[in-house]
Each structure stands twice: as structure tokens, then as C-alpha cells.
């Protein structure tokens, strides 16, 4: 594993047993997370993005099982050299004691249901510090909790620690959930659609907060979302997932300004733009394939107007476009016919570029 990487997923396979059938939800995916960066994993519901994070945390349901592949994680040890562990080889006890909450923390989608209604928010934040022995006493835990609430932008933290979740608004609850995640100063923070359940004004506040916290703490973030628009200002790198595979991966600028996979084109075209009053919002036709019996070739071919014959026959490999930019599409093969991205998208990117050069 390269020096600057904190997490590396290599050829991970994950399936769920459903009666007699096997749902192959993650199919040979690889990606990595650099220290201190934000990686956005983007894809529609069912593409396997949330399950991937659950695999990292060792929280797969009982009917799920890992195939081949590894999840390498750099564990910092005080006074010693970093150790690189393969999380897929570790048992539940190890994950609970040494990884979850303490090294890798997660923020869930819906703050309205993420907090225990019968426990004060102070106790819920203190719980993981005490569990992982990050503090010497309850008093210290309380002091740290108040600091944390202040850090995530909750006013009157001394009063709030004694309150119950139902006494807080949705936005405040998500701040509390973020405080819980940061309680043990984790190295990696997974944000699983942290703004989807919030209304738009609160969404941008929470995004700002996450960005700000990363600056202050240096935490590395995996940001899961179905909305490329949400992560435009947050992500350093973007991985686009479709049907249990990563179809395109690159720096945020590469994904937004030079997308190569037809699925990424579709996703980008479907973001409503502010200036295009007369244009119709694009939607990708069809639905994602059933992964109990995944298609032989490119899973997106059935919904793509750019599909080549080979797309139905054989899985495209990852083609390298730059040092950091990869895409799995036969369109990138040297002998493939030359195809341009949709006109709407090309126009939009041109407009962006123009604006960028003016600034």
C-alpha cells in the first residue's frame, strides 16, 4: 500500500444469500482513500455503495458473505510504526473493539432515526469515548462532549447535553450524529448520504460543516451519495458505481469536466442546472439490472444509447485516461468508434469552463 493511502479496497466481492439465490451486489471493486482527502462514491440506489461501507466497518448482515478481495487499512499505533491490516480477515470482536467508532466512524442518512430516543445526546456522544477508553473519567468525557458539540456548531452545548433527541431539530440531530462520529477522533469518516434526509438550506450547512471539520481534524472522508451535484464542492476524487462495479474514477475535476463513461454522462446530464430554463431535465431510461443474475457484459449497456456490440458480450476493463482517471467503457478502446458525449452535457461543460476562465 502506498505511503499516502489510509484505506485500500482491492478486488472486493460481496454477495447476499436470498433463499436459494445469491445476490452478487459488489462485483470486484477496487478503490483507495488517500490521507486527508474526500472520496465521493456516487451511484443510484442499489448500486452497492452503502454496502461497500458496511463491508469496511464489518457490519454486513448475517446472510452476506465476502468472496475474494481485501480491505487494507493503515492503523496508526502510538509510538510504533503504522500497521497495515486486512479488515476482511478480522473477526467481529476485533472490528468492534479496534475499528468501529475508534478508527472508522460513520454518519447515517436519516438523523431523525439515528439517535436513541431514550438517552440524552450527551450520553450518546460519551458512550463511544468511554467504550474505547479515550477518556479517563466521565467528567473528562463530559467536558470533551461539550467541546465537540461546540465544534459541530450547536449553541449552548452545556444545556444541550442533557436534552433528548426529540428536543432537537433534524439539522441539529445530524450535527449530534457528526459529533458522535468524531468522538474518538477517527482516521476515516464515512458519510452515508448525510444530507439526503435534510432540507436544502440545512444540506449546505451540513456540507460546509463536514468540509470545515476535515480542515480542522484532517480526517479522511468517504462520502456516499446518489447526487453528483451535492459533492461537487466537497470531493477531491470521485468514484462512480453502477450495478456493484466502479465504472469511472478520477479527480473531481476530471469527472465533472472530462467524463468518459456513458453512465457518468447520464448522471451529470440529470443534474438540473440553474441557467438552462428551457431545457428538460434528463433522466436515464430503465432501471439497474438484477444482480442475482448479472448481465454478461457491461451492466449499463442495456440502458445506454452508446452501447457497442461487445458491451453485451464482455465486461470492459478499466482504461486509463490519465494518472488518476480511469473508466470501464469499451468506447475508450483504441479501435472503438469515436463517440461524443451528449450535446446538452458538452454545452454545459463548455459554459462551466468559460465561467472558470473568467474568474
Amino acid at each position: 500500500m502506498k505511503e499516502n493511502r489510509i484505506l485500500e479496497v482491492n478486488h472486493l466481492d460481496l454477495s447476499f444469500r436470498l433463499g436459494n439465490e445469491v445476490n452478487h451486489v459488489i462485483r470486484d471493486i477496487s478503490f483507495h482513500l488517500n490521507q486527508g482527502e474526500t472520496l465521493a462514491i456516487v451511484g443510484e440506489s442499489g448500486s452497492g455503495k452503502s454496502v461497500t461501507t458496511k463491508a469496511i466497518l464489518g457490519m454486513i448482515d448475517d446472510n452476506g458473505f465476502l468472496g475474494k478481495g481485501e480491505i487494507l487499512f493503515r492503523t496508526s499505533r502510538t509510538g510504533k510504526e503504522d500497521e497495515i491490516v486486512d479488515l476482511t480477515k478480522k473477526d467481529k470482536k476485533y472490528m468492534q473493539k479496534y475499528v468501529r467508532g475508534s478508527k472508522i466512524a460513520i454518519i447515517f442518512q436519516d438523523p431523525m432515526t439515528s439517535l436513541d430516543p431514550t438517552m440524552t445526546i450527551g450520553k450518546q456522544i460519551m458512550e463511544s469515548m468511554l467504550e474505547h477508553k479515550k477518556v479517563a473519567s466521565k467528567k473528562e468525557a463530559m467536558a470533551k462532549t461539550i467541546q465537540l458539540l461546540d465544534l459541530v456548531g450547536i449553541e449552548q452545548p452545556e444545556k444541550r447535553v442533557r436534552q433528548y433527541p426529540h428536543q432537537l431539530s433534524g439539522g441539529m440531530r445530524q450535527r449530534v450524529v457528526i459529533a458522535i462520529a468524531l468522538a474518538c477522533e477517527p482516521d476515516v469518516l464515512i458519510a452515508d448520504e448525510p444530507t439526503t434526509a435534510l432540507d436544502v438550506t440545512i444540506q449546505s450547512q451540513i456540507l460546509e460543516l463536514i468540509k470545515d471539520l476535515q480542515k480542522k481534524t484532517g480526517v479522511s472522508i468517504i462520502f456516499i451519495t446518489h447526487d453528483l451535484g451535492v459533492v461537487a464542492n466537497v470531493a477531491d476524487r470521485v468514484a462512480v458505481m453502477y450495478a456493484g462495479k466502479i465504472v469511472e474514477e478520477g479527480l473531481a475535476s476530471e469527472i465533472y469536466y472530462d467524463p468518459r463513461h456513458p453512465y457518468t454522462w447520464g448522471l451529470l446530464s440529470s443534474i438540473p442546472s440553474l441557467d438552462g430554463q428551457d431545457e428538460e431535465i434528463y433522466s436515464i431510461p430503465g432501471t439497474p439490472p438484477n444482480l442475482i443474475d448479472p448481465p454478461k457484459g457491461d451492466a449499463f449497456a442495456y440502458r445506454s444509447e452508446y452501447a457497442l456490440e461487445i458491451d453485451f458480450e464482455e465486461q470492459p476493463p478499466m482504461f486509463q485516461i490519465s494518472d488518476t482517471h480511469f473508466a470501464a467503457s469499451w468506447l475508450l478502446h483504441p479501435s472503438a468508434p469515436k463517440v461524443d458525449m451528449p450535446l446538452v452535457l458538452a454545452k454545459r461543460i463548455a459554459a462551466f469552463n468559460e465561467r472558470r476562465s473568467q474568474e
Partner: protein, 311 residues
């Protein structure tokens, strides 16, 4: 909270008044009279009726009765069981034993039920879960009096570990069998209910977040799972109490326990009105009291229900 409790108590008193009236009214429709003695002539019966004030109009009798109950705690005198003795004396003397055995059964049943429910709900689809489920189904299906008879036959008669009947000089030891007989249904219901609730709570987002915090599994189940699941389980405490009362009617007979359950059965057989009314009234009061406790417990466990501000 105090205001809430005061309001509940006032409401309970009003309920008790209505209950007393209905009980008094219902007894008017009972066949026969306390003086159903073939040796008595019609004239003699009329004299007795007049002596006890039973010849007066209904509302006047109720008014007199109500005054006696409220002002003196006097529920009238027994006509048949212990002639001319105050009913309140007879009932109160036997109340302690019944309440004690009822509480023992409730405590035993709920404790075992919570234990089995937690095991069953957190170790779903294991042999322990299957065992607990089977025990729960048996407990719900077998009436307490059948169990009482089986227990007293096997453990009392065959193996002679316990005495077959209740002994006044061994109040605790000899109450073990009736306690078990009564607690079985409570245990079974609590297990079943808690299992369902716990499974649901453990699948909730907030328990997943606790899991993601890296909290050890036993703490996740007890601190977060059980506490939230208990909110719903408390609801069945009321109905369970009713079951204990009706169960005690027969179980007390089986073991010869000098409690109010057996007294009620006796009272019904000999038309001892005042005894019947008072015991029915005591049962209602107990039930209302349990519900009051349940309401207060809700507030203790679930902060969302606490009415007072500040939480």
C-alpha cells in the same frame, strides 16, 4: 409530572365511583336472595329484608351504601359467609395473601419473561430462541388451573417436594407452587412480546449507529435494545394483571389459599352480595392502580412522554 399524576388519580377515583355504581346495579339482577332458605316463610323473609334495608328503593340503597363506603370504608355486612360480620374485615384479612402471591407471580413471570425474551430476541433462530419460543407457546396455551393441578400432582403428591395445599404457617414455602402456576402465563406473554419488540428495535437505525460506535454487543442489547423494547412491553402489564386476578380465582381454590379469589367464588355461590361487590371493587382498584403505575413507568422510561417541561 406531579400534576400529571394528580390528574390521573382524580380520574381513577371517578372511574371507581362508576364501577361501584355498576356493580351495585348488576347485583340487582342476580337471581335469588341471601335468604333463600326453604325453612323461612315469605313473611319471615320480608322481615329479614327490612332488617337489612333491602326493601328500600334502589337509589336510596345506593346512596346509603356509598356514604358508608366513602366515609367509613364500610362495605356492609356479610349475609351468608360469616353472618353479620363486616365485609371489609373479612376481605382485608384475606387480601394480603392474594396480593402477595399475585405480586410474587408477576415478579417471577416478568423477570423470567424478560430473560427469555432478551435471549430469544437477540439470538434469533438459534436453539435457545426455539426453546424460549416453545416455552412461551406452552405457557400461553395452558390455563393456570391445569398447570396448578399438574404441579400439585407431580411436585406435591408424587415427589412430595412441596405440600399439596397452602399452609398458613408456611406462607412462603407453600406459596411456591401457586406462584409458579400463576406466573407461567405472565412469563410466556412477556417473552413473546419482548422478543418481537427487541427484534424490531435491534434492526432500527439508532441501534445500528450504536453498533457503528463499536459498543460491545451485550451493552448494545441491554442499554439500547431492552430499554426501548420495554416501552411497549409495559403496555401488557395491565392485561397481565387481569389475567393474574382471574387465574387466582381457580388457583386459590386448587391450593386452598385463604385469599380473596376463593372468597369471591364462595360469595357468588351463596349470593353474599356485599362480599361480591367489595371484592369486585378491590379487583378494579388494583387494576386501576397497576395502570397508574404503568403510566408513570412510561414517563420514567420514555423521555418523549414526560409531560413536564425540562425533561
Amino acid at each position: 409530572m406531579t400534576k400529571f399524576i394528580a390528574k390521573r388519580i382524580l380520574l381513577s377515583l371517578a372511574t371507581l365511583f362508576v364501577i361501584l355504581f355498576i356493580l351495585f346495579l348488576l347485583l340487582q339482577f342476580m337471581p335469588g336472595s341471601p335468604f333463600n332458605d326453604e325453612k323461612l316463610t315469605a313473611a319471615q323473609q320480608a322481615v329479614l329484608m327490612a332488617k337489612y334495608g333491602l326493601d328500600k328503593p334502589f337509589f336510596i340503597r345506593f346512596w346509603i351504601y356509598l356514604q358508608n363506603v366513602v366515609l367509613r370504608g364500610d362495605f356492609g355486612i356479610s349475609y351468608a359467609i360469616k353472618k353479620d360480620m363486616l365485609v371489609s374485615g373479612i376481605v382485608i384479612a384475606r387480601l394480603g395473601t392474594s396480593v402477595r402471591i399475585g405480586l410474587q407471580a408477576l415478579l417471577l413471570g416478568v423477570s423470567l419473561g424478560v430473560l427469555f425474551g432478551v435471549i430469544s430476541g437477540s439470538k434469533r433462530n438459534t436453539w435457545m430462541d426455539s426453546m424460549a419460543t416453545v416455552a412461551a407457546v406452552i405457557g400461553v396455551s395452558i390455563p393456570s388451573y391445569v398447570l396448578a393441578l399438574v404441579l400439585s400432582f407431580v411436585l406435591g403428591y408424587k415427589f412430595r417436594i412441596f405440600s399439596i395445599t397452602y399452609q398458613v404457617d408456611q406462607p412462603l414455602w407453600s406459596s411456591i407452587l401457586p406462584t409458579i402456576a400463576l406466573s407461567f402465563f405472565v412469563m410466556a406473554q412477556t417473552t413473546r412480546f419482548l422478543r418481537t419488540e427487541l427484534i424490531e428495535v435491534l434492526a432500527s437505525d439508532y441501534v445500528k449507529l450504536v453498533d457503528a460506535k463499536g459498543v460491545a454487543r451485550p451493552k448494545v442489547i441491554l442499554r439500547h435494545g431492552l430499554r426501548n423494547a420495554m416501552i411497549s412491553v409495559i403496555t401488557i402489564l395491565g392485561p397481565l394483571t387481569v389475567n393474574l386476578m382471574t387465574g387466582s380465582l381457580v388457583v386459590e381454590r386448587v391450593y386452598g389459599i385463604p385469599g380473596i379469589g376463593s372468597l369471591l367464588v364462595e360469595g357468588i355461590q351463596v349470593n353474599d352480595y356485599n362480599v361480591i361487590i367489595m371484592i369486585a371493587f378491590v379487583y378494579s382498584a388494583l387494576y386501576i392502580f397497576v395502570n397508574l403505575i404503568v403510566d408513570i413507568l412510561y414517563g420514567v422510561i420514555d423521555p418523549r412522554i414526560r409531560v413536564a417541561k425540562g425533561g
